[in-house]
Each structure stands twice: as structure tokens, then as C-alpha cells.
Symmetry: C2
Subunit: 416 residues, 2 copies
């Protein structure tokens, strides 16, 4: 929770932090400001004090929405800084940042550096600031262990509600895709047809998905997955736009829409086979569904997340599949880990990797995915089932959006 930030700073021995970048698509900044169209903002927070939000004057209305203490960049005379820096952009930026630190009362100690932004510009600027205020030590943190990742790890009711709303939008879109696909005409060679009689491609379906998400006011990162056949067997292949949609092939459909402007995500996957499934595909799907259900009835409050990755690997290895438990970087079998936290980052704490510590737990407030899968690109098939869960304050695991798990989707105008 955001209220933990001061305690987390103390635990990490940070006297202050600075966050750079846009207010959108920049989780630490969005977390502190609530978002808004602020394109080059800076936040400086001294431990135990309120954050100060520095912003460009043209964006004053957007910045004001944050409710934070505000200082416009115009307070610092750009022409004078430019002159003083001898027309060195990195130094001019550093001189301004020096004044901002002094205005925030930060002149000594360990200062954490955060934000998603231009590494080169910030690296260059901070090298200069280091010389201008030598008593400050700038500090980075391992991504998975930063104060923001820790604060963001547990969600309150209002955050869970925002994720739940994205879940509703997600399942609405998934259902529209299902209705659209199953209503298609089918050619003799089992290729699906569009209304104009030409073959339906994966790219056509991608367009529909983008459109239906946009209609609902959400954003869809372009790496979402709707892949068929071999591409479904490569976990992060987005799907080849020119592939034709066919009956009896596995489709992996993994989407993770977010609130517009880089807000909270939802993460969701279903695997389908249109019209019918091959016996081999049905068997593999049934295994994925079986372990998915077993996990679901075994999730325990406060248990280490990696325990469920262990359980999943053992289940799959017992059935002859490679997993990360005994194979390094497998390319077939169960090739990834079970899940991850979801929030303002699509991947955040807790993580389920086998080597993670006990601090990655199913603690009250975490929002996590459970997503076992099997991948056989050479056989032209892949499978994954994924839902997003909230561990409620009362310790119950709640799926944030319900949706059926059917593998074979009957076609409305086609029978075997």
C-alpha cells in the first residue's frame, strides 16, 4: 500500500527518492500522481514528508489533479540555466535538478532513483548532480525488490475494484471474439471465412480484439496474444497475422488490457479449439485444466507463491513433460513459471519462480495470476489457462472475472 512507502524507505535506508518521467505508462509516477497527461514530470519525496510534484506550466491543469504539492518548472529560469551550463543540455538539466533537490530540502543522504524514462538523459544528468551535491548518493534497486514494487504488492479494495473492472472488460471482449469466431462460415478445408467469403486470418482477429477493447475505453498493449497452431506453442508469440483461422487447431488467447493512460491491468488467457479437437490436444488441455483446478483448491493464505510453481512442475513432470524444475530453458513442455502479481505493472510482485524467497507470498491484498500451460511448437499446439485472483483481506482467493474454460467451441454453422 502507498502508506507503507515511508517505512519501506526506512528499511532500505533511503533518505529521499526522486521519480522521473511521464505521469502515464510509468508505474511509480502513476502510483503517486494518479496519472494524467503530464509529459515530463519529476517527483521528489524526502522520507517522512509529502512528495513534491514538479511539472511543465502548460500541463498545470493535469498536474493539479494529483492533489500533490506542486512546483512549476518555470520557477527555474531556463535561459539562465542554459547560459550557466555553457549550452550543455545535460548540465543545464542537472543545475535545475540541483535547485529542485535544494527546494525539497534534499542535500544529503541516500536518494533512490525511480521511474520509466530515458536512461541516457537521466544517467547523464545524475552524473552532473553527483558532482554538484556530492553529499547525495544516488541508489538503484533490483526491479523486483524496489520500494515501489513492495508498496504496490498489496492492493486495497479500490485498487481491486479497478482491476475487477478491467476483468469485466476483458471477459466481455473474449466473449465477443468467441461469438464472432463460432458464427463464421467454414470452407471445405476447415478454414474459417469472413462475411465476404475470403479466409479469416489471425490478423483480422487481432483487429477485432483491438477494436473491441478500444470501444470499452481500455488500452491493449500491442504484444497481446491471439495465436493458432505452432505459434500457440511459443508462449510469447503474438500470433502470425497471415495465418488462416482453421478448425481443430489450438488457439492461445492471452490479453491484458489496462485502464487508459497506463493504469491497472487485468491478465487473462483461454485456449480454444474450434469445432473439434484432436485427441492429443484434448488430452494435453485436460492436463492443464486439471492442474489449474488442483492449484485453485490448494492455494493457502500466506503460502510462498513458488510452492505452486513446484506443484505444477511436479504434476507435469509426472506426465512426461519437461519443466523448469529439472530442465534449463525448456522449449517444450511447461516452459514458464506459474504466475505473477498484476497491478500498474503487468508483471509485479509477488513472483512464483522456484528460486524466489518466502517473501513472495499469497499475502492478503496481493493480486496474482495462475497460468499453467503446455507448449509443443513442433506438434503445432500450445495451451494455457490464466485468471487473475485477489487475495482478499479476509484471506479468500477471489477470481476477479469469471469466464468459462471450454476448450472445444462448437461452430454454429458447421458439424463434423
Amino acid at each position: 500500500m502507498k502508506s507503507e512507502l515511508d517505512a519501506l524507505m526506512q528499511a532500505k535506508n533511503l533518505d529521499a527518492f526522486v521519480v522521473f518521467g511521464h505521469a502515464e505508462n510509468n508505474p511509480p509516477m502513476t502510483y503517486l500522481t494518479g496519472g494524467g497527461h503530464v509529459t515530463h514530470a519529476t517527483i521528489i519525496k524526502k522520507r517522512g514528508e509529502e512528495p513534491i510534484y514538479f511539472f511543465g506550466d502548460m500541463e498545470r491543469d493535469e498536474a493539479a489533479k494529483s492533489g500533490l504539492k506542486l512546483i512549476p518548472y518555470s520557477k527555474y529560469d531556463a535561459a539562465e540555466l542554459w547560459k550557466k551550463s555553457n549550452h550543455d543540455g545535460a548540465l543545464a538539466a542537472a543545475l535545475r535538478l540541483e535547485s529542485m533537490f535544494r527546494d525539497a530540502g534534499v542535500t544529503t543522504g541516500r536518494v533512490g532513483v525511480y521511474g520509466f524514462y530515458d536512461l541516457s538523459a537521466i544517467f547523464g544528468m545524475l552524473s552532473h548532480v553527483q558532482t554538484l551535491i556530492p553529499e547525495i548518493e544516488f541508489v538503484g534497486e533490483a526491479r523486483e525488490d524496489s520500494i515501489f514494487m513492495h508498496a504496490m504488492e498489496t492492493k486495497d479494495e479500490s485498487e481491486a475494484n479497478r482491476i475487477r473492472k478491467m476483468g469485466r472488460i476483458t471477459t466481455e471482449v473474449v466473449d465477443k471474439v468467441k461469438d464472432f469466431l463460432t458464427a463464421c462460415d467454414v470452407r471445405e478445408d476447415e478454414v474459417l471465412l469472413k462475411e465476404d467469403g475470403t479466409p479469416l486470418t489471425v490478423g483480422d482477429v487481432h483487429s477485432k480484439i483491438r477494436l473491441w477493447v478500444a470501444e470499452r475505453g481500455a488500452e491493449l498493449p500491442s504484444g497481446f496474444i491471439f495465436a493458432i497452431g505452432r505459434d500457440a506453442g511459443v508462449p510469447h508469440s503474438s500470433g502470425n497475422p497471415t495465418d488462416l483461422m482453421r478448425l481443430g487447431q489450438t488457439i492461445v488467447f492471452d490479453i491484458y488490457p489496462a485502464e487508459a493512460g497506463g493504469g491497472y491491468y487485468y491478465d487473462f488467457t483461454r485456449t480454444w479449439s474450434l469445432g473439434y479437437a484432436t485427441p492429443e490436444a484434448q488430452e494435453l488441455f485436460d492436463q492443464v485444466k486439471e492442474i489449474y483446478d488442483q492449484l485453485n483448491s490448494n492455494f493457502d493464505l500466506n503460502a510462498p507463491f513458488r510452492n505452486y510453481q513446484q506443484m505444477t512442475c511436479e504434476y507435469f513432470e509426472a506426465r512426461g513433460h519437461q519443466t523448469l524444475l529439472h530442465t534449463k530453458a525448456p522449449v517444450e513442455g511447461y516452459v514458464h513459471s506459474l504466475g505473477h502479481g498484476v497491478g500498474l505493472n503487468i508483471h509485479e510482485r509477488p513472483f512464483s519462480n522456484l528460486m524466489n524467497g518466502d517473501d513472495h507470498r499469497l499475502a492478503p491484498g496481493v493480486v496474482v495470476t495462475s497460468e499453467p500451460g503446455l507448449y509443443y511448437p513442433e506438434k503445432g499446439m500450445g495451451f494455457r489457462i490464466e485468471d487473475t485472483y485477489w487475495v482478499r483481506p479476509d484471506g479468500k482467493m477471489e477470481i476477479l472475472a469469471d469466464y468459462p474454460y471450454d476448450f472445444v467451441l462448437p461452430m454454429k454453422k458447421w458439424k463434423k
Copy 2:
């Protein structure tokens, strides 16, 4: 151009560079790889050698599309690194990066750091690498002066074509918005109505814009602007979603769609007044249009971009408006600079600020906006006209998408 990178590295005395982050929405990475769904990639390039693309195994198909020399992260044993680092994530990442640098033959010299990514994680990791390979010096650059900003500054025909295509999509969407607005019914108090008879809001129009951009397969950053009245007078206000659409008020409509996945942008603004305009608004609009046209007929090949900012400020000051020429951070009048380069970054070189050097020029190959405007939030009005131009290899300035400049849009079902 990309082919200039080695020469730019030499000029900046860089022996190598490293780029971190996703392949999407990360201009230096997109520039080198062509994009694709690669979520945590690294590129290392030694001067004079081909770049090496390090990627996660699950994303091998996407990485392969780049045509670059590939090394999967799985080459570096994660479990061993984790053990060796004593379970310190930043150190484990640094140990891997150390091996990657050694594999790329980079063990000494000045190494530029680039990419849009998690500042904290990279800062933490590089501090460790600095200790592991002390002969390397990591270097940042001022954003506007980096080797990537310089290389990207000039576009070839194929890049111009991609921007032109986004321009076509942009003007199609703008035209749909125009048709939609002018077809609305109008209430007695001059409020526009939706088909269901309720008032049309700015938020409704935002939704339409998002939808129509998505339908065309492009992405629209959520900070796009469609604002009316007072909000039109604040240059970067996105527009208040609950504002009602009314006749006779100025509307600033500024959109900058990009190719899906964070590709090339187009940047465009028109100002409208529905049904009629007040005489004061008409006069201010006419001034903006007049200087817009004057600029257009004065653009000279290779002239410093700031000359046109100077010309615009002088034009507006002669008519009694505040500008950056003699006012620091004006909040009304002409409050911004004339334009900026457009490419994989919505704002890139060349820039038109008065204090910029002669190196920000209208050189062959640059793509720039021209966007004079006037802003009077207290009067409830704002104005801006913006098009995106390519300076062709033959030195001609070409508007990449034509669209009419009409200020007053007649309503189809309403007359004064």
C-alpha cells in the same frame, strides 16, 4: 539515419553502447530492432561492429524478426547467477550483464547507456557492473543531443512513407470527427445532442476518437487533446470529459497517432468553432492562420528552426500577445515554441526553441511540425494549427497529410 550511428559514436568518443528495455514504446530499441513483442531485451553494440540482440527464450520468434545477431538469455545460467549473487537481484542481473559485455567484446572504454526503461533497476545494476568491469565508463547524454536523437533526426523515404501513412489515418479520423459533430442535433441553448437526445460531452468525443484510431490499427497516446472553451486555452489540457459540446466555442483538436507497438508518429492540430464563431475568436484564429501561412512560404532549406520561432513571436508580439521572446513562462498569448521533430519519438530533433543552436536546422530528411497557437484560458478560448512536414532530399517542404483549415464548421441541421 541509422547508418550514421558508428560515426556519431566516434564523434562522441563512445566505444560501445547498450540499450535496455522492451522492443516496443522504446525508440532506441525499436529503431535498432524494428519492434516486436520482446519484453526485456538488451542490445550491445561495439563501435564498428554489428549490434547483438539478447532476448528471453520465450520471445525467440519475435526477436528473430529483427534480423540482428541473437543471443538468448538462457546462455547465462540464471540459477548459478542467483547463487553467485547471494540472492541479490541487482547483483545477479549485473553478473549476467558482465558476461554479456564480455561476449560482445566490450571490456573497456566509454559505453553509452540508452533505452526507456526502469531507471532504478538499471541504475542499480550498472553500479555493480562498474565494479565488476572497472575499465568501462558508463555514459549518459542530454536527451536532445544523444547519438540516437541525431541518427533519428533525418528520415529516409521509407520512414517518411510510414509517417505519411499515419498522417492519412490521422486526417481520416479528424474528418470522421468533423462529420460526426456537424451532423448532431442542437438544443435551444446551443448544446449538441447525441442520438438519444442527451447532451454530447467531450468524453463522448474522446471515445469516438479512440475507437476510430483503433479501427485503423494505429495507437493513440492517451494524452491526445480534444478540448473546448477554457480547456482549449491550456495547451496541454486533454479536455474535460464532462464538458458539454456547444456551438460557438473554440475546440482545439490535437492528435498524434502512432503505428501499433510504438512506431512512427504523426502530429496534427486543427481548431474549430461549431456553427459560428464570436468575432473575437475569429480575429485570433485569423492571426494564427496568417502566421501559419507566412511561415509556410518562408521555410528555407537548412535554415535554423529557431528563426521561425523568432518570426512567430515577433508576429504575435506586434499584435499585442505575450510570447516567450519577452515573457518568461507566459500563461496567455503564444506560450510555446513553434515545432519539433517527429519520428519514433513524438518530440525529437530538430527543436525550435529560441536558445537552440544552428544544428537544429531544416536539413534534408527532417520531419517537423509547424504549430503556432494562441491561448486565452480566461476568455475561454484557444487556437492552434499544426501540420507535419518532411524536408525532402530535394529540399522541398512537403506536408505529409493535407487537410482543410476551416475554423467555423457549419452544422448540417442548425442555422443561426
